[in-house]
């Protein structure tokens, strides 16, 4: 398995992720992989048994996975949410905000660059995740 960068306290899941199509028929599967174009909402009835959702980014320019991640978190998914594939350091801050908490980039990410990138923006303009306090909220106490 490629190196996984994690932002949660647990050990990165090594559960093999099944496809969305397979998942419906495998009631014991706890890990699933979403491809671009697949509807994350089909997983919502079964979130309780999932411990890992991988979202594949075959090419970084295809941003459907950002919506998939947010939809899962909005629905209350608390397990590991991993971005896989063409993930660069510059994308990780955006992905973190959409709810990803682990990353399996195809090409290695320079930890120093990632650290600087994650630390760069002091605040956020939008409320994207439940825990975020956007600038408009800071302004109005």
């Amino acid at each position: 398995m490629a190196d996984v960068i994690t932002f949660h306290d647990d050990v990165a899941s090594e559960e093999p992720a099944v496809s969305v199509d397979c998942f419906a028929g495998q009631t014991n599967a706890t890990a699933v992989r979403i491809e671009p174009g697949e509807d994350a909402r089909v997983l919502l009835p079964d979130l309780g048994r999932l411990s890992l959702v991988e979202v594949n980014f075959p090419a970084f320019g295809d941003g459907r996975g950002y919506s998939a991640a947010r939809i899962l978190r909005e629905a209350g998914y608390k397990g590991e949410l991993r971005a896989v594939g063409d993930v660069l350091a510059d994308h990780i801050p955006l992905m973190r905000r959409c709810g990803f908490d682990s990353f399996a980039p195809r090409a290695p990410v320079d930890p120093a660059v990632l650290e600087a990138t994650l630390a760069r923006y002091p605040e956020v303009y939008q409320k994207v995740a439940e825990s975020e306090r956007p600038i408009w909220s800071l302004r109005h106490g």
Binding site: G63, R64, Y66, E74, D90, A116, P122, E123, Y125, R139
Partner: protein
């Protein structure tokens, strides 16, 4: 106008640091050009035919004298002493060095400006009405909502890799001066039972498949606009086509799904999103609105204008528009001098316009989608002095909305996407119609030229549109008639086979001859075309 607080400034400063680091990694070879490309594009830096082009955002086209002077400084220090104002109310510099780009962004940040999201498949600069705040026919100044949307769309993590670019326009008048319905999302602020809200249009656009955006929502309350637009974007991000960049804009999704189905999906998503607490409170809109209150207009001013200088009187009749406040006027500064490049201004001209704004127009300027500049609030008593200064600087052209007030994209002279040159065609047409008496006799005639199908020159929306194409290796120009980007929005139709550069100029003149011969009292070119149809024009041009 809006003034940054510490949060806005910190975000823009962070972007400078971000881009400085990305540029460093590119120059050192850590990033390949392929990896760097989307990063620089998100910051408005394109690689063109001869050099990098940097596009600087002018949010909703409004800027101060100090900001304008910084644009002049950048032209002088980093470019060839001029800048090009665009149909998106931004400015572009065509001769930028990559290693200078971080310093330019730092200079911009020092005057509360940036190049954030001026390209890339993300939400672009929000456009608006150049007469916002001073037009008598608006229900509210639309710019506070545009600023709210600017902040919401800046670095939005879900919408940074959309299927394609995304353009939003906000207006607040029945008269559409900003081509609102040719945007991916158009918002018209309306008043209902004393409350302001948004009428929303989606899926408009130009390019290969021009569409006038259909209405998708008759009223969204002002404090729910963000969640509604976010729902529109999410449906688009998930289901917009990604297999073909020419079919990736939201207009294709809306057409393929059908307006009703797109609306249904947005409503469903919105019902969910409204529960997430993502709409800023009304207090935030109020905070922004406080930046857009009327300036301290003097009262009791005279509305009289001394018209004894005939050249000045002609300029007034062409460039000066009614202001909501007695004694004041709106001035349109033409960036379409004869034989000039539409939208170009030298650093000296930009500085002069900034000086005039500071002294005579409450330190505020507007850039229009027609590539001109507006002084929004000048005293009528100051008009003559202003005209003299503009005239001496080559900015005194009196051609607003006339045939020589041409919109043109940079075309093959600069742009790597273009099939044909736009600028020389614009210049030849301007020469042909140079006679001021003839221009004025023809009256309002919006002529728009694009050097390729992407339609940056808005050719679909021209009363007369010209599209440059590549025909077996030679530049060829198609003529379109009958488009409009205004409240009577319509798309131009191609007249017939294309022309070479001189042929297209002749064809335009023949079209205007038909109009002059056939017009009825009070009819503009567009009105005559709509009444008599294409055939008389076709016969005159090809007969």
């Amino acid at each position: 106008m809006y003034v940054y607080d510490k949060y806005d400034q910190a975000m823009v400063d962070a972007r400078v640091a971000d881009f400085r680091d990305q540029t460093r990694r590119r120059l050192s070879g850590e990033l390949t050009e392929e990896q760097f490309r989307p990063l620089r594009l998100m910051n408005g830096l394109y690689l063109q035919l001869h050099a990098y082009m940097l596009r600087v955002a002018i949010p909703y086209g409004t800027l101060s004298g100090r900001q304008m002077k910084m644009l002049a400084h950048i032209a002088r220090k980093y470019d060839k002493d001029y800048g090009h104002f665009t149909t998106r109310q931004n400015i572009q510099y065509n001769w930028i060095k990559l290693e200078d780009a971080p310093d330019i962004l730092a200079d911009l940040a020092s005057v509360e400006m940036h190049a954030i999201q001026t390209s890339g498949n993300c939400i672009r600069n929000i456009s608006s009405d150049q007469y916002a705040g001073v037009a008598a026919d608006e229900v509210a100044d639309p710019r506070p909502w545009a600023e709210l949307l600017r902040q919401w769309s800046s670095f939005h993590p879900e919408f940074s890799y959309l299927p394609r670019k995304f353009k939003i326009c906000v207006i607040a008048s029945a008269e559409d001066r900003a081509a609102m319905r040719l945007h991916d999302i158009g918002i018209e602020l309306v008043e209902r039972d004393g409350v302001i809200g948004a009428k929303v249009f989606a899926g408009g656009g130009m390019g290969r498949t021009p569409i006038v955006g259909p209405e998708i929502k008759d009223f969204v309350a002002e404090d729910e606009i963000i969640s509604y637009v976010e729902a529109c974007l999410r449906v688009y991000n998930r289901y917009g086509r990604r297999d073909n960049k020419y079919k990736a804009r939201i207009k294709i999704l809306v057409s393929e799904l059908g307006v009703e189905e797109y609306k249904r999906q947005v409503e469903e998503e919105w019902a969910h999103m409204k529960t997430l607490g993502i709409d800023p409170p009304t207090a935030e809109l109020d905070r922004i609105r406080a930046h857009f209150v009327d300036p301290a207009y003097e009262t009791g001013l005279s509305d009289a204008i001394d018209r004894s200088d005939p050249d000045f009187a002609l300029w007034v009749d062409s460039q000066v528009v009614a202001h909501k406040q007695p004694g004041y006027a709106i001035v349109n500064i033409s960036l379409k001098p004869l034989a000039g490049i539409p939208g170009d201004a030298s650093s000296a001209q930009i500085d002069l316009i900034a000086d005039i704004a500071e002294k005579y127009s409450f330190d505020e300027l507007r850039v229009t989608h027609a590539q001109n500049i507006v002084l929004a609030s000048v005293k009528k008593a100051d008009l003559y002095t202003i005209w003299q200064q503009l005239h001496d600087a080559g900015l005194g052209e009196a051609n607003l909305d006339l045939v020589t007030d041409i919109i043109a994209c940079p075309g093959l002279d600069y742009c790597s996407l273009a099939n044909a040159r736009s600028i020389p065609v614009a210049q030849k047409i301007a020469q042909r119609f140079a006679d001021p008496v003839k221009q004025r006799d023809i009256g309002e005639l919006k002529l728009k030229i694009s050097g390729c199908i992407n339609a940056c020159g808005h050719h679909h929306a021209g009363h007369i549109g010209i599209l440059g194409v590549d025909r077996k290796g030679t530049e060829n120009y198609q003529l379109l008639l009958g488009g409009s980007g205004a409240e009577d929005a319509s798309l131009g139709k191609i007249v017939g086979p294309g022309f070479d550069e001189d042929g297209i100029v002749d064809a335009v003149e023949k079209a205007t001859d038909v109009y002059l011969a056939q017009r009825q009292t009070g009819e503009r070119f567009l009105d005559t075309y709509r009444r008599i149809g294409m055939n008389p024009f076709k016969e005159a041009i090809y007969g």
